[in-house]
Symmetry: C3
Amino acid sequence: VHFSLAELAERVGGRVDGDGSLRIARVMPLEEAGPSDVSFFANRKYAAAFAATRAGAVIVGENEEAPAGRTLLRAANAYLAFARIATLFHPPREPVPEISPRAVISEGAVVDPSAEIQDLAHVGRGATIGARTILFPGVVVGDGARIGDDCVLHPNVVVRERCVVGNRCTLQPGAVLGGDGFGFAFDMEGDGSGPRHVKVPQSGIAELEDDVELGANSTVDRATLGKTIVRRGAKIDNLVQLAHNVDIGPLSLIAAQSGISGSTKVGMGVAMGGQVGMVGHLTIGDGARFGAKAGVHNDVPAGEIYSGYPAGPHRDWLRESAAIRALPALVKRVRELEKALKKLQEEA
Amino acid sequence: VHFSLAELAERVGGRVDGDGSLRIARVMPLEEAGPSDVSFFANRKYAAAFAATRAGAVIVGENEEAPAGRTLLRAANAYLAFARIATLFHPPREPVPEISPRAVISEGAVVDPSAEIQDLAHVGRGATIGARTILFPGVVVGDGARIGDDCVLHPNVVVRERCVVGNRCTLQPGAVLGGDGFGFAFDMEGDGSGPRHVKVPQSGIAELEDDVELGANSTVDRATLGKTIVRRGAKIDNLVQLAHNVDIGPLSLIAAQSGISGSTKVGMGVAMGGQVGMVGHLTIGDGARFGAKAGVHNDVPAGEIYSGYPAGPHRDWLRESAAIRALPALVKRVRELEKALKKLQEEA
Amino acid sequence: VHFSLAELAERVGGRVDGDGSLRIARVMPLEEAGPSDVSFFANRKYAAAFAATRAGAVIVGENEEAPAGRTLLRAANAYLAFARIATLFHPPREPVPEISPRAVISEGAVVDPSAEIQDLAHVGRGATIGARTILFPGVVVGDGARIGDDCVLHPNVVVRERCVVGNRCTLQPGAVLGGDGFGFAFDMEGDGSGPRHVKVPQSGIAELEDDVELGANSTVDRATLGKTIVRRGAKIDNLVQLAHNVDIGPLSLIAAQSGISGSTKVGMGVAMGGQVGMVGHLTIGDGARFGAKAGVHNDVPAGEIYSGYPAGPHRDWLRESAAIRALPALVKRVRELEKALKKLQEEA
């Protein structure tokens, strides 16, 4: 596939600074790009690579400064323009309508004829697989589970019984939807055999609405009762844990290794850095944002930015972190104050 | 299945406040329950839902306050009563004694005739599978591994060679028992080819005793020598890491994404919140408890509650966290003290 | 297999304190070893077990103190000697050159005749599997992926399309190489259907160079463009997340549950404790070391030791942690200073 730079600009609503007739063959990083490649620049940390690149053209923001003579594709949202152009060169894999003879389709399962079920994938009893959905090898779809249209379930994904996946969802390798929630009631007597933990049946389900992505080896537990839900357009990174009855709002973004405890309700468009943790039964307002490693113990209002452990407003955390760094010096100042005061007292 | 409310109360040693003849068809959350459902209330956060529920009956504690006229099932341990009643309505899946022709049973493996080995499960050479145990698709049981009776190994669980699983254990999807421990000896010379890390053979095993649950995508490493062990009735949540030679005491509870480093010995009935980390070679006393995200660098005595990073007694952590929040103000106060003192000194 | 103690000492360049003719049958932990076993002692925490062991011989450092009469194998690097001796008793499993008839080798794949492809493993179109490499059940190697010589891919490992694994690499169960990086551009308009996240194609690859180990259920994302790379001899523990375009230097060690965000470049011989987190686009110098749970927000120079959250030099962190513990007392001291000063002021 080749596109002229002008054509690319038109497709993304951008404009060309330089020669629009330039033929573009690939999208490449600044360091590796050559004269027929388009590259991308947005992070000032890579200014040197931008200056040195041999890329034929570079996608940048509307007002980004650039070295003189550089051919540019300018766009209001440069990252979005980059995403769209990269998609032109790397369109998603088209499904090949076929059920491998080495796949297992159980009794009563309904697989859309346009779906692609690869070798060693397993579809449980009464499960449904939607149009153009791809199941890679090792995928296990449990009994009665429903997978929508245009989904991709990468190798070794597990969707347990009765769980639901909407349309246009992507599950990265090893992701698990619908494992049992972690619920045990302590039984001191244990029917005479001593104390034990009695399992609380996790009879609910887990559901991904449309356009959700679930990262590699992430786990979304099924609900105790009702459902655990990740709503429309939310994106979940790798190794994330969503506990039973969690509710993740539409368009939220949760970075890797974050964990949300049971029944916490996260609003719309919430963004979390990596390794964030939230205790259970919280309510997180729309558009709230969380710094990496934040440990959240309380409800957070809409629009707030929180950081730290225990988490508080980001600005406070910055001030507190700075104050902690100055703390050994502060201890010294207090000691000197005490000495000086004592001297004054003695003199008085 | 239907039960009268009185029958349910009798089964769990509770008592009915209201009409015991009420027929109960389902267990449902407060928000979704209808007149023939029983629901559950224990967390004050959900008082509004309790007040508004249309549930026919609600399971509550012995002395829980409730809106007038509400039909209640009162029990000393409400959560335990709920667990048992939910189990009546949602009994665990019965095994169907059968080995799928699409499963692989290797030479010398012994599978109990009452076990259920589903499609695409793999049982290694000389491995044993106990009575009524269920292996879901994609499960891999390594050579010589032993799985007890009444276990459930969910899809894509891996139990590596020679590892041992007791009776009545549940392994959620993707859990890994017996991966190699992380042990390397640094070799500066590397036989003349430069520095390298030499792998320390991890020739021990990993063992789960009876009644253990292991969460989705959790990893329990095999021991360098001897064994890594999770003892009777301990429950491990998702994405937890137990390193080589760790020893988890009976009835301990470890919440999601916690990690225990090599050779640490955790006592009986220890409880950890999510994302707790422990360094290696520690001894954690019986009944100790850890707040979410605690970072534990030292031995902890029995019965203590620890939080923070580095972790200390929970009460201290609360005081320290409050003091940190007040720290910017404290800095200001010290500055003012210095000014005032200077003025006094000048006057003196 | 049996070795005389003298023979073992010779193989590892050590020397015997005691009877070198002793026949050694096994390597065992101090607590379990008997008269024909060799054990290992290095950590002072286990001095009591060392004193009490019934081991025939114990591997110790050159100058380690030992109870009188104890037979010792002394070596300059005791842990390395132990690793080598344990390898003599527990050599790595030899591959059995065979492709299971229950494995799937796709069109155009090239499998070296000396490789061992076990049941239910899947090799994609045009993929290559090197000499003596072992694929366990449930392994999925994507289309066009390349796996080198002498590798072990444990059960349910996934290597996605076009990714590359060098020679002598070990991938523990459930590890995922080449899942999509977490990249989305926010599109406020969404073609008229409202806001949405547009996926940025992750068209690069992930590569492990030679001698890399990847832990159970760890995830290494493929690059947006170019490649994510783990360089020669680096060792990655379980449940670690390496994001797109991360570059891990040779011989680095990353302990369990650590996470490195996108495009961060980690130098040679860097060591991280468990649950470390790093934000994206950082540069970490050679030989830097990180305490468990460090949260790293800035570049770190070569050779530094960092701890804390936000991470700083380890020594500062120790001082700050101590100061925090003394903070409630400091607050009290400041209050008393204020009182005393006020009194002085009133007197003046």
